[in-house]
């Protein structure tokens, strides 16, 4: 929990500094965080390469690995359908479109803005940022109560990049291969599902 509070504080500091407008423009460009991300992935790679069981795990996981993205997709869509019952302003396909972003907020928000307008696009942006953020902050809690696959399913399309480090840290290096496989499958499925649901009615 101490880690979670630290993460929350750092995120808030970034948010407040940007609101104040005291940050130099250099920091606002997306390319900086992209390079930090690549650096991060490099270190995650080092962790995978230097851990003993990782290569062996690739073969031993086997076919059951495909159930992980299935769980993510079905769990998300079922819950998004329930969300549409709670939110009077949002239709079933609104909620399914936003849910189908699977934390891939940049792509899903742009696609949804195109199909349904800026408001739902902004909701998609926020909801999918929240989703990534929840994994970054609550990964230890998720692992404790829902098992080591839970931050992977919750992380959606981000489990091959931004949330991979927390998954490595809290589910263990054994699950890195599952996270990479899952992230790739979900990542590819986002534009398909979003176009499908946002294009309906």
């Amino acid at each position: 929990m101490k880690d979670s509070l630290l993460y929350l504080a750092i995120f808030t500091i970034g948010l407040v500094l940007a609101l104040w407008g005291v940050l130099p423009d250099v920091l606002l460009s997306a390319s900086i965080s992209k390079w930090i991300l690549y650096g991060l992935l490099f270190f995650v790679g080092i962790q995978i390469g230097s851990s003993k069981g990782a290569f062996w795990a690739i073969r031993s996981i086997g076919r059951r690995i495909v159930w992980v993205p299935v769980a993510t997709t079905l769990g998300t869509f079922a819950a998004a359908a329930i969300a549409s019952l709670i939110l009077p302003l949002r239709s079933l396909t609104d909620c399914l479109s936003v849910g189908a972003g699977f934390a891939y907020y940049s792509l899903s928000s742009i696609l949804i803005s195109g199909y349904r307008g800026a408001e739902l696009g902004t909701i998609a942006l926020l909801a999918n940022i929240f989703r990534e953020f929840m994994v970054l902050v609550f990964a230890p809690w998720m692992v404790k109560h829902f098992g080591p696959l839970s931050p992977i399913c919750a992380g959606g399309a981000t489990t091959m990049d931004t949330t991979l480090p927390v998954i490595t840290r809290y589910s263990g290096t054994d699950y890195v291969v599952v996270a990479l496989f899952h992230g790739m499958i979900i990542d590819f499925s986002v534009p398909l599902w979003v176009s499908f649901f946002a294009g309906l009615g």
């Binding site: 880690d3 630290l6 993460y7 750092i10 995120f11 500091i13 970034g14 948010l15 407040v16 940007a18 609101l19 920091l27 606002l28 965080s33 930090i36 690549y38 991060l40 992935l41 490099f42 270190f43 995650v44 790679g45 080092i46 962790q47 995978i48 390469g49 230097s50 031993s60 996981i61 159930w67 992980v68 299935v70 769980a71 993510t72 769990g75 998300t76 869509f77 819950a79 998004a80 969300a83 709670i86 949002r90 936003v98 849910g99 902004t122 909701i123 942006l125 926020l126 909801a127 929240f130 989703r131 929840m134 829902f146 080591p148 839970s150 399913c153 990049d161 931004t162 480090p165 840290r169």
Partner: protein, 93 residues
Amino acid sequence: MIQILLSIISGVAVGYAVRRSAFTKYVSRVIQIIILLLLFFLGVSVGSNKEVVNNFGTIGLDAFVIAALATLGSLIGARMVYKLFFERKKNDV
């Protein structure tokens, strides 16, 4: 996509080469520091998006409800798949 895979693959190669060195003990610490940096930039990108900031209240609540439920749904799915396919084979994961 290509950059992402290249970053990981080159890291794996370096990691495999240095797997016996003491340096690998500090890798998880470095990773945590980089996560903090990325979270800072996530905050910056939310705070510098005018449209998001202006409508944060009304739109934010709907977004939060969808995100919280979608996350919970996938957590339940994750637990079911873990119980069905992973737990009993714990030793070979």
